[in-house]
Subunit: 297 residues, 2 copies
Amino acid sequence: MKPLVGVDWGTSSLRVARVDASGHAIEQREFPRGILTVPAGGFPQVFGEACGDWMKEPGAVALICGMAGSRQGWQEAPYAPCPAGHAEIASQLAWIDRGRIAIVPGLSFDAGGAPDVMRGEETAVLGVMKLLGVSDARIVMPGTHCKWVRVRAGRIESFATYMTGEFYAMLRQHSILARTLPAQDGELYEDAFLRGVDYAMHAGNLLHAAFTARTLSLFERLPQSAAPSYLSGLLIGEELRSQDLHAGDTLVLAGADKLTQRYGLALSHLRAPFRVLGQEATWLGLHAIAQSVKELA
Amino acid sequence: MKPLVGVDWGTSSLRVARVDASGHAIEQREFPRGILTVPAGGFPQVFGEACGDWMKEPGAVALICGMAGSRQGWQEAPYAPCPAGHAEIASQLAWIDRGRIAIVPGLSFDAGGAPDVMRGEETAVLGVMKLLGVSDARIVMPGTHCKWVRVRAGRIESFATYMTGEFYAMLRQHSILARTLPAQDGELYEDAFLRGVDYAMHAGNLLHAAFTARTLSLFERLPQSAAPSYLSGLLIGEELRSQDLHAGDTLVLAGADKLTQRYGLALSHLRAPFRVLGQEATWLGLHAIAQSVKELA
């Protein structure tokens, strides 16, 4: 196998890794050089600074996933439509330097007349499937834009985006709720968090439920320090409200510990079975895709 | 009847009127002096500047509704619990100058373990009831925080707040959607607006539906100029999704023309019966409350 450099190039950060023959990172680096920080034409230079030394190894190849393939990125890698697995993704790489550096396409899915999209998560999903050794799964990837992904027979069949993390940040900073919330999020208050989950499920509408983060404070029925936890519960509860939590395959939570912990708390509270994986799946996914591409394998 | 000065003192604006014996405004003034612009202790002066000349008339009295009665206002007028009508509201005035200047209390309603509140809308609701000459109604008051109010036997029985206007402004300015939306809202595109209404009802979850305002642009399936109309439809559709539109009394829309027009479009599209009133109800409501108070009548 050729020496593989994995690159996860998102909106706000750039992660690179030397990936071994089993798909694990031998060495990792992270930079605050998300695509929004890179001027037009500046991608080759930032790439060189991040992992140019690794690319000097004889035969080294690089595979990149994430927003680097968007219209505002290094080079556009058009969305591949669902269903898509290794084969579809591998056949639609956007080559920066043919045979040496390529970008993984994002995926699109048409749900009820409106398209949904992902970039980067498709790669992590393939890694999760490899980690689990299964070909069917429901995978939840919490974040600014949380993805709910359905995999069948090894291919991503459908998915849906929830702007949960972004709504939390907006309400936290830019709404009337900001007036009664403390400046810092502080620790997680589990009771307040689960109270938020329950209220969101009961109310069935975030436009209404969000107002209670204010009124509970007005009536001193929620300590100020616990209000961010309550709001977080409202948001995650609103997302979970629309899912069928008790049917089909066990949910797999994949993402940063701080978030998977919260989703796990909510799912346990709702008696929904789930398991948790970390963030290492992206390297495994890039490795799995590279293995499917003659020039990169 | 004593000469009545009506005052509608909200968060961002101050409206005053000389109200005649039938509850209509003889003369009106509006100032950008919402309570957020008034320094502590500054309320008497701003009040004097706005309508001090009218208060010099022999026997003149003033009745104030809105956020002036909040903790951050002129003087706190604690919330009166629902159900509440003229009698309950009139008996819980907060007097600034006994027999001469008073503030109308806001209302609270406890829905499923979390309180909801209004300040100012209770007065407009009483005015709407007087205008319609009925004692039962469902009234919708669109705005930053839209109120859905149920009146039975002349008393406000229950209500619910939807942060629809505020969510629109937040998503418009502070979310990833801001990147693809034009700088100005421009005119209303009815097709795009109703498409947003339909998608919100279909999706059943704003955290998911909002993302389509981005993806439809990405795939060039929504002209940029129509995207604000689509987003507005998503928000209003999300609010309407949670209402029973075809049961009970005809809906009454009361508020600014620009908003009642949009709600009316959506309701017509959903084949829900409704009627529309303007914003003059507040003066009628203040007049009706003043009539119930010996010192002000």
